[in-house]
Amino acid sequence: MDPSALARFEETVLPHLDAAYTLARHLLRNEHDAEDVVQDAYLRAFRHFDGYRGGDMRAWLLTIVRRTCYSWVRQHAADARATEFDETVHEDSRTGNDPEAEMLRGALLEALDQAIERLPVEFREVVILRDVQGSSYAEIAEVVGIPVGTVMSRLSRARQRLQRALPVEDYWRS
């Protein structure tokens, strides 16, 4: 590894730190675990940087972050169940003055959280990549390692599951 590799790495890979952190945080649902995993993923990415052969840099990095997340989960399977609920991931940034509407919205968001949490992980990751990260289907296909058609059907099914898991869906009409 020569210094110019570090220079190129910092220039091309480091700017995607927020995306890496977002994915890890939503997959692991814990702030501290996400921080550890992101560092670990960056170290792995740096070591394998020689093997990077062009293409979408963000997708390449997120692929490594995702794998690092899952190996982390496997290693910590026992205490992963006991992870605390990560309040800040689910912060409701909206504010309003209508207490009744707020209550309904609060109930909906809680239900949404639970529904996302209960999604099987292969569904959850496509929802996060698409709706939180804004990844294209092609990028998701690369990160997860599945065909684009599968991304589409998985996402459809994930969203249908979420809808079924939620109470009266009219709540979010507005």
Partner: protein
């Protein structure tokens, strides 16, 4: 197309990821199937709820720094095995210094400043602007109000570029000080972040942006078109760097090429900032 087949394509349709032919087939089915239309509407609302509720996050600043430190440590470890590298690095540094021509550069750590340099002044100015209710003297996104406002208040006419189409809406401007010199402070936004752009005239300076970080703020600095500029924000580095290049391009009227070796430049600040002409 059956309802069953459509069900798997609904997301693709909603996310505009279907090709034209497939989208046309979905639309043809939707026109005659009220059940699938309702399903699409349900999915649309669900997607909106998920997107509104789960937002992209920003990695903490210390994590960014830790990753950097870790990478450097990793590099050092691998370099210990390669003794020829220091000579190579010296050559690279010499090339870098040569490449930036008129700049008098020094490589030093900017993490712990003594408060006497321009970076510190710029950081202080930025923090000051955010603390009080004095972000702007003239709040406007109108070129026609900001630029004339500076006339008569400064002994130069600062450029007031518009980058709103690039995602940096102009918030306004104010007078500020960097050192003893009165400068134009232009305020731009990027999502919820504020960018202060300090501008003042400089003599025979022409250089590409250089970057530094201090106290969690990123600073980008350069000079073009007879002006020197400092951009500062808590915005992520890549966005701010993009902003700085827009500024440099606007000032010089020509495209400015990025540093060939920008990560090294993150540790570079000019030892000898441009002389500030006295008024």
């Amino acid at each position: 197309m059956s309802c069953e087949t459509l069900s798997d394509k609904l997301s693709g349709y909603l996310d505009r990821e279907l090709d034209q032919r497939a989208a046309g087939e979905v639309e043809a089915h939707l026109r005659q199937c009220i059940t699938c239309s309702a399903r699409l509407e349900g999915e649309r609302r669900l997607r909106a709820a998920v997107q509104a509720h789960l937002t992209p996050l920003r990695a903490p600043e210390w994590l960014r720094n830790d990753v950097r430190t870790m990478l450097r440590a990793q590099l050092k470890r691998s370099r210990r095995r390669q003794t020829w590298l220091p000579a190579w690095a010296a050559t690279a540094a010499a090339l870098l210094l040569g490449a930036v021509g008129g700049w008098r550069l020094g490589i030093w750590q900017v993490s712990q400043g003594d408060g006497s340099d321009v970076v510190a002044e710029v950081v202080a100015g930025h923090v000051r602007s955010l603390q009080g209710a004095h972000l702007t003297d003239i709040a406007s996104s109108e070129h026609h109000t900001v630029k004339p406002w500076f006339a008569g208040k400064l002994d130069f006419s600062p450029p007031v570029p518009d980058f709103s189409t690039e995602g940096f809406p102009r918030i306004g401007g104010r007078l500020d000080y960097v050192g003893e010199k009165q400068v134009a402070a232009l305020v731009y936004g990027r999502r919820q972040h504020v960018i202060n752009l300090f501008v003042w005239p400089s003599r025979d300076w022409s250089a590409l942006p250089a970057a530094a970080s201090r106290r969690g703020y990123h600073v980008e600095h350069g000079a073009a078109g007879g002006m020197t500029y400092w951009a500062i924000s808590d915005l992520n580095e890549s966005d701010l760097s993009h902003f700085a290049h827009l500024v440099a391009t606007d000032l010089s009227g020509t495209a400015v090429q990025p540093y060939a070796c920008s990560p090294i430049s993150t540790r570079v600040v000019p030892l000898d900032p441009p002389a500030i002409p006295s008024t």
